[in-house]
Amino acid sequence: MAREQAVPSAAAPAPEFALPRRAKVWENVFKFIRKKPLGALGFFLIFFLIAMTLGAPKAKFGVPELPDSPLGFELGRPFMAPYGEEENFKNDAGRLNTHAAPTADHWLGTDGSGRDNWARIIWGARRSLFIGIWALALATLAGASIGVISGYFRGWLDTGVQRIMDALQSFPPLLTLILILTIRPFTSEPSLVVAAFALGFVGIPQVQRIVRGVVLSTREQQYIDAARVIGATDARTMAFYILPNIMASIIVVFSTGLGVVILAEAALAFLVPQAVPPEGASWGLMLDQAENDGLSTHPWPGIASASAIALAVLGFNLAGDALRDVLDPRLRLG
């Protein structure tokens, strides 16, 4: 009798060992916003930055003569931009409407050539994001592969690699960038691709160091031993056992790195304008131009570009911090 009571009847609903209800996506989003308001602000800034770059594709896919476009086709005017990149405006007297204060037509005023600051900020977002993504792609791809290999094999290979990384890290980053970009390898004209690769190159040792540290602790885990026992080769262990487990760290490095690179590009364009292509809108070049025109008399281009740079960097920093707390508390420092 007692036994029969213990057996749940077919009609009995919801056994207590049922899995907890899966949280819906928006519930998770709200939880994130509540727990990490600053991180949510960071993600909002990043989404806004990405939205600024969106525009209708202009050319066919895979056009080879547009190497500076990340997707293989060029985007037309950004949806958010009210005016063209180089569109000049005239005032009632028929002269160029230079250094205007903000109005309903020009939300952030105009610059020294009568171009709309708000439109130029939106056009410039593409350049920042393009350089940021390509530089980080190079830095994480190279840095993470070197880090995984040297952390996995250790021994003389690791020692040798670490010495080379020490040497690379002893280069003052900004000075090295200036040196590389004034030498301008492989091109006679300043090029965005070279700038992106130079920025990525400088980032390799930082990424490598972080990844190697994480790999060193990961490789001592039992599941790595288990993988070896079942006969996985070194390459297989690294690709299918270590890499997926350090992915969180790599994502964190990528998101924080984007902010650093965008800032470095702006700083570079501001300090040594001839290191980057002069045509097209760029936040760093805008700030440089604003400083040359005199910040105290014509503040608006300076305010606009400086705020854009600051908000983009702030966004990536905040989002990176929050991601790190959520995905990989191991990396937390201070």
Partner: protein, 332 residues
């Protein structure tokens, strides 16, 4: 310890050797551009004879021999502390750099001083009042200064000081102390007030950014130390709050912070390119940007080498100081 220091010094020499080799390689990626820049002055003098100009420049730079020979020559020059001559006025690069060292060093040290003045009290308060409103406010301020790039802060400070506190306005001392001054440098022993006015703005802006990093690190260290047993013992003994916090907790929390400060000193030295350029302080950083504008490669190469040397030895000193301050750390 001695063995460790000797080994580290040998390793550093190896690292510096690699750095020098990489700089050598960088300059040979596109040596035509270097030669053209060097020969540029000659083009205008002797119209037509472009190739002869280039040959002279190439010979001057030692680019006419084979690569191994060039490398050997370059390394012997380096060992003899000969960094070559500048393209612009043909003076020895090393002398030019040393002549501009004092503004950079002064700015770097002042920045650290400002950072400490800001970070120490804020870090302590924010740790002992954890999760109270003052902690949130201070942390937000530090995130703000961490997130916002130095040159953006500098641009805004200059904008505000020059626009609202410019010459002839009610508060000229604001733009005197926070705004940029013209080029030219006054040593501190010649006119201390004028000297400080020239660097104070940049030091304050840079110090806030550096201070934010130190503050965050100090706060987390303090939180960790405050949870230790010996701090609980100190409280239990009935010591006053000030004694517990300053003598027991802060002393131990500061050790790791010191390493961060040492590492920051390195980044401050190289990061001041931006501040020196914005504030027109005639230091090494300002020299970098003006050399880059003229494609003066020997100067760029020389500064990279000198700063790399500095960074490597600051790191060594930091590690040694760390072991000396914290006997728990043993180097093998």
């Amino acid at each position: 310890m001695q063995q460790y220091i000797i080994r580290r010094i040998l390793l550093n020499i190896l690292v510096l050797f690699l750095v020098a080799t990489m700089v050598f390689a960088f300059l040979r990626i596109d040596s035509d551009h270097v030669v053209n820049t060097k020969a540029a002055g000659c083009f205008t003098d002797l119209s037509g004879d472009v190739e002869q100009c280039k040959d002279v420049a190439r010979a001057d730079l030692g680019l006419d021999s084979s690569i191994p020979n060039q490398y050997l020559e370059y390394m012997t020059d380096l060992v003899q502390l000969d960094l070559g001559n500048t393209f612009s006025d043909k003076k020895p690069v090393l002398d030019e750099i040393l002549a501009r060292a004092s503004p950079s060093i002064e700015l770097g040290l002042l920045q650290i001083v400002v950072a400490l003045i800001v970070a120490l009290p804020i870090g302590i308060i924010s740790a002992i009042r954890q999760d109270q409103w003052i902690d949130y406010v201070l942390r937000f301020v530090s995130i703000f200064f961490l997130g916002i790039p130095v040159f953006v802060v500098a641009v805004f400070v200059i904008l505000i000081t020059s626009r609202y506190f410019g010459q002839g306005d009610a508060f000229p001392f604001v733009s005197d102390w926070l705004g940029p001054h013209g080029l030219g440098w006054v040593e501190i022993w010649e006119d201390p007030i004028d000297n400080l006015k020239r660097v104070s703005g940049a030091a304050l802006v840079g110090g806030m950014a550096t201070g934010a990093i130190i503050m965050r690190f100090l706060r987390s260290q303090m939180l960790e130390v405050m949870r230790q047993d010996y701090v609980r013992t100190a409280w239990a003994k009935g010591l006053r709050e000030r004694v517990v916090i300053i003598r027991h907790a802060l002393k131990n929390a500061l050790i790791p912070v010191l390493t961060v400060i040492g590492l920051l000193l390195g980044s401050v030295i190289s990061g001041n390119v931006i501040l020196e350029t914005i504030y027109s302080i005639d230091g090494v950083g300002f020299y970098v940007t003006s050399a880059a504008l003229q494609f003066d490669y020997p100067v760029l190469q020389g500064i990279v080498l000198v700063v790399a040397l500095l960074l490597v030895f600051i790191n060594l000193l930091v590690d040694i100081a760390y072991g000396w301050l914290d006997p728990r750390i043993r180097y093998s």
